[in-house]
Chain length 499, copies 2
Amino acid sequence: MHAVPDALELLESKLADYQALDSIAYLMAWDQRTIMPPGGFHHKADQISLLQRLAHGTLKDPEIGRLLDELEERDLDPDSWDAAVVRVARRDYQKAVQVPVELSAEMARASAESAPVWLEAKATSNFELFLPLLERNIELRHRYIECFGPQDEPYDVLLDDFEPEMKTAEVRRIFEEIKPELVELIADLRDREIDDSFLTGDFDLDEQVALDHEVIDLFGHRPNTWRIDPTEHPFASGAGIDDIRITTHYYRDHLKSLFSTMHEYGHGLYQHQLPREYAHLPVGQSSGLGIHESQSRLWENLVGRSLPFWRFFYPRLQARFPDQFRNVDMEQFYAAINKSQPSLIRIEADEVTYGMHVILRFELEQDMINGRIELKDLPEHWAEKMHDYLGVEVPDHARGVLQDMHWSSGLIGYFSTYLLGTVMSVQIWEKAAEDLGDLDDQLERGEFTPLREWLERNIHAQGRKYPPQELLRRATGSTIDARPYLAYLKRKFGAVVVA
Amino acid sequence: MHAVPDALELLESKLADYQALDSIAYLMAWDQRTIMPPGGFHHKADQISLLQRLAHGTLKDPEIGRLLDELEERDLDPDSWDAAVVRVARRDYQKAVQVPVELSAEMARASAESAPVWLEAKATSNFELFLPLLERNIELRHRYIECFGPQDEPYDVLLDDFEPEMKTAEVRRIFEEIKPELVELIADLRDREIDDSFLTGDFDLDEQVALDHEVIDLFGHRPNTWRIDPTEHPFASGAGIDDIRITTHYYRDHLKSLFSTMHEYGHGLYQHQLPREYAHLPVGQSSGLGIHESQSRLWENLVGRSLPFWRFFYPRLQARFPDQFRNVDMEQFYAAINKSQPSLIRIEADEVTYGMHVILRFELEQDMINGRIELKDLPEHWAEKMHDYLGVEVPDHARGVLQDMHWSSGLIGYFSTYLLGTVMSVQIWEKAAEDLGDLDDQLERGEFTPLREWLERNIHAQGRKYPPQELLRRATGSTIDARPYLAYLKRKFGAVVVA
């Protein structure tokens, strides 16, 4: 005898299909960006577009609306997972029904088709190749925004997909608070002389690969569940909590890949520690991209560029690259990896200058969406802001507007989450340190389990139970606040200079 | 103004969705078997099962039946692609509607879930671990067979999925013709002494990888469309005609991987040369697994173990492995790679003994499906037949019943296509040689383009326009015929011994 399935079971079964299609699409995108033979782009675009059409169609099924209506009548404890399942499904359904499936399939197709073009445009520093992608994506975003009717700001619609429930005005307020302080700090640090010449050299690629594995194994994860692959633009992905795939870009002449791997470890760990019981449902996914980025920045910077960590790890690095580091002591190394210097490439920027790269993109995105600049003039506006904010001149498009893949694949509204996440990473770090008592000592002993478990308990295993700001408030006692971040930068980068 | 879509367009659009889901599922299976972190098996089973459910649901949509009814009223030229689209869709639809979606999803799940268990069972030679998989799969096949109502032989239902329109009785007839001749030839060759000691040794793995790439590049394909990855059990897959992925298993002490790569090249080339215009539809796929195998066996054996090929290629092999082959002349090498000797492992068997490995499996499959043997006794029956047919004793399950992944993943009815394909490969080869005039001379000059193009024209680019036997008849003038194959074996293996 079968019990009649309950409305919640029925809802979850439909949501599970949606979520599985979504994770298949993620895996397809991973495949495209790491190991697919380049000739496969055309097939892949067809397949990704179909998956998007099916996923979206599954999500906007009117039956979901009916089940939600029924479930919302029930008196569910708002703090329960059941209530969260319904809340998250309502949000997703509400958005899904406003957008035609054909449009979202077309957006997915445009994104998948752009990848090889962006790679070529970047390789040849050719903005003309990139411009049609940008035009197509901006046009698609305008059509997407229109689906949602009148807004305070059109950009709000885009932002909400990456940073749920955050308004453009709020981001602007936070960034306006950060901007003058960063400008001042950058100016202060500009003329400090720090020797980092030993970070450039000849670093055997096999050793770099082994180093990256050593670090992610040291930071910790369950066995047989992770892989690292080389790619053009590093990212983290995965097909589920036990199939985590991070990527990195190796450079023979530099150890940059190490920090990039720590960064992606943070993203991967979030995915790895999502609530097992709900990982097959939308409610069991990550809360938002800002929180996601807080995790990557936390492992990259607050662990990976910290003095306690390097007290522990530097001898291991020296053992792996004895010729390069034999005559460099730990304090010199620490100062070098924390050298602040305005530069051209966002993903290689130090902690101080990083924020300005994001603010520049956030501003330009709004100008593009609001039609305040012509797309063909984007490189000039880019160069102007790079000059004004960081005092650097852009020598070519590859190191300018073509450096990131986001805009070519339609990810507009995404960049700001990098800085929001960085800001939140400090709040989270400070609360973890308070709760754990001797976090610095733990790092210095190479113990990462307490931190990993704290993050799991307070952030990862919460899934999407709460929207990002509510999750942050529950974890740290406060919603987003730039002050700890600014104080941290001043403290740390004062100290580095003295060292 | 949009034209009203024609019934054929509507049908093709639905079939294209089905086909895309099917190729995504193939890619997921490739991922699972090559690069997925082992922890991902559970997610993968969910995803593959969902894809099967969606693909099957798409195919049995009653709207497809309605469109087919309408299109079958039309007076389409039976030799046209339009007629073939309809014919193939009717066949697929007819089968799909008889099977509940839940059953095919369960079969897909059982298959995906079996993979890690089979790997462990094989690694530990543990039949007890394997038996429940086999029981589950046989039970699922019985349920599957029942969907199709009464049959001449239940096994016909399974066979038809791999070798369309072929009956068990016909396979039995062909195999009965082959069996006594093979037994005699094996006995004749048993005591011939051929030195192949130089095929065992120390073969640098990087060099082996480079060799495999050299061979597939030499045989030929479009640039940026292929990849080769290591795996436990070699196979060919791909997500489309410009994304071909073959796999191989490298052994440090032997060059076996080279021949396995040539074999998979043949499969890959078929996929690569499917008709571009129809490759997104079922009609644009391969005609059947027997024909597929004819292509792999053709490149592995009729090219890859031929004297003309090695006249061309042996100096290159010597250059890559000078220590191993400096003192071995080409004739010795040729004799060694064609040494016939009964052995335990099917995929490593020589051309003469290979057939008996397949016949053994074909017979055991029918015994299992017809309940003539108990599944728990399978190893004994296996050992008995290995003794009777090949005169070898099975030392453990790993080198016996656990060696192939097929049964664990539910592929029952598949093995016979290996021998059917081998038989057809000789028919196809002889017709190609006749048409091309100087095929041997071409191989000896390292020219593979004419052969590749002949295969494209006569086999690959025909897709599923015709069922396998009709395709073969059009390509060679005859349906399947064991005589050319038997004559080839006697000719070649007589000659080798003399050399």
